[in-house]
């Protein structure tokens, strides 16, 4: 795919920084935006901070909250302009209930991940290669 924007939702500043570093080291050509929580993310998708164009990809650890993450994904899937976004759940904790709920919402992948910088690079590089073989519509 061409250059797209990717929205990362995580309430840990250190994780967001690790992703930024990883994106830059691997030379991911897509633009990374970040939100500290679901509310902030929603305002970037359909509120006062709305990004244009809408991100094609969301990365979120739904296990940081009890069920706000899943509710957020649910709202995306029920929104005409947002429902087609590719969602990758990335997480360093286990939660079978959230996993089943996320898979039912047709996420593109549920990925258990280590956020340590060396391993993160290998995860991001596999993801990046995958993003590079998939096509998106040219519609904004």
């Amino acid at each position: 795919m061409g250059n797209a924007s990717i929205l990362l939702v995580d309430n840990r500043k250190a994780i967001i920084e690790s992703f930024r570093k990883s994106f830059s080291e691997i030379e991911v050509k897509h633009t990374l935006f970040s939100a500290a929580n679901e509310n902030e993310a929603w305002s970037m998708l359909d509120g006062s901070q709305k990004l244009s164009p809408i991100p094609k990809i969301i990365l979120i650890d739904v296990n940081r909250t009890k069920n706000e993450g899943i509710q957020f994904l649910n709202s995306i899937r029920n929104h005409t302009d947002l429902k087609s976004i590719l969602v990758f759940v990335i997480t360093d904790s286990e939660n079978e209930i959230n996993k089943a709920a996320a898979l039912n919402l047709n996420i593109a992948g549920y990925i258990p991940m280590s956020f340590e910088s060396q391993t993160l690079n290998s995860f991001v590089s596999v993801l990046n290669e995958y993003w590079n073989i998939i096509e998106f519509s040219s519609q904004k």
Binding site: L86, L103, Y110, V126
Partner: protein, 136 residues
């Protein structure tokens, strides 16, 4: 994902393409059981009547006789037992409308079939690496 070897269903009407997927799987050491349906109608029959074990992954062509990939996806997503299967579109169709429809039905990826087998091998290798990251 690899250790469990989930079942994969390929929905594809072109026999040459079926052969290419089989060859690419074998060259990339993808050992998952692979089932093949020739079109959407056949795939639905296989899934709804439990003719094959439920796959976790479907590789779906778009342009097929009887029922095309998009029609198949629509019906699948409305079926409680089938709706959460991961679908990867693999097609020669570069139509924007097909991409929009496929992503609206939440496919995990829309992949254009490369013209050369070498490039196709690389795409399948990339898919394999991605599948290995994911829990299904």
């Amino acid at each position: 994902m690899n250790q469990k070897l989930v079942n994969i269903l390929l929905v594809e009407d072109d026999e040459v393409d079926v052969m290419n997927v089989k060859r690419a799987f074998s060259k990339n050491n993808i050992m998952n059981p692979l089932f093949v349906a020739g079109n959407g109608v056949e795939a639905l029959e296989m899934l709804e009547n439990h003719i094959i074990p439920l796959p976790k992954i479907i590789i779906l062509d778009i342009n097929m006789p009887k029922m095309n990939g998009i029609e198949f996806l629509k019906i699948m997503r409305e079926n409680e037992k089938l709706k959460n299967i991961s679908v990867f579109v693999m097609t020669t169709s570069n139509e924007d409308s097909d991409k929009i429809n496929a992503y609206n039905l939440n496919v995990a990826g829309y992949i254009l079939k490369p013209l050369s087998f070498e490039k196709f091998l690389t795409s399948v290798a990339t898919l394999k690496n991605f599948w290995q990251l994911c829990e299904l």
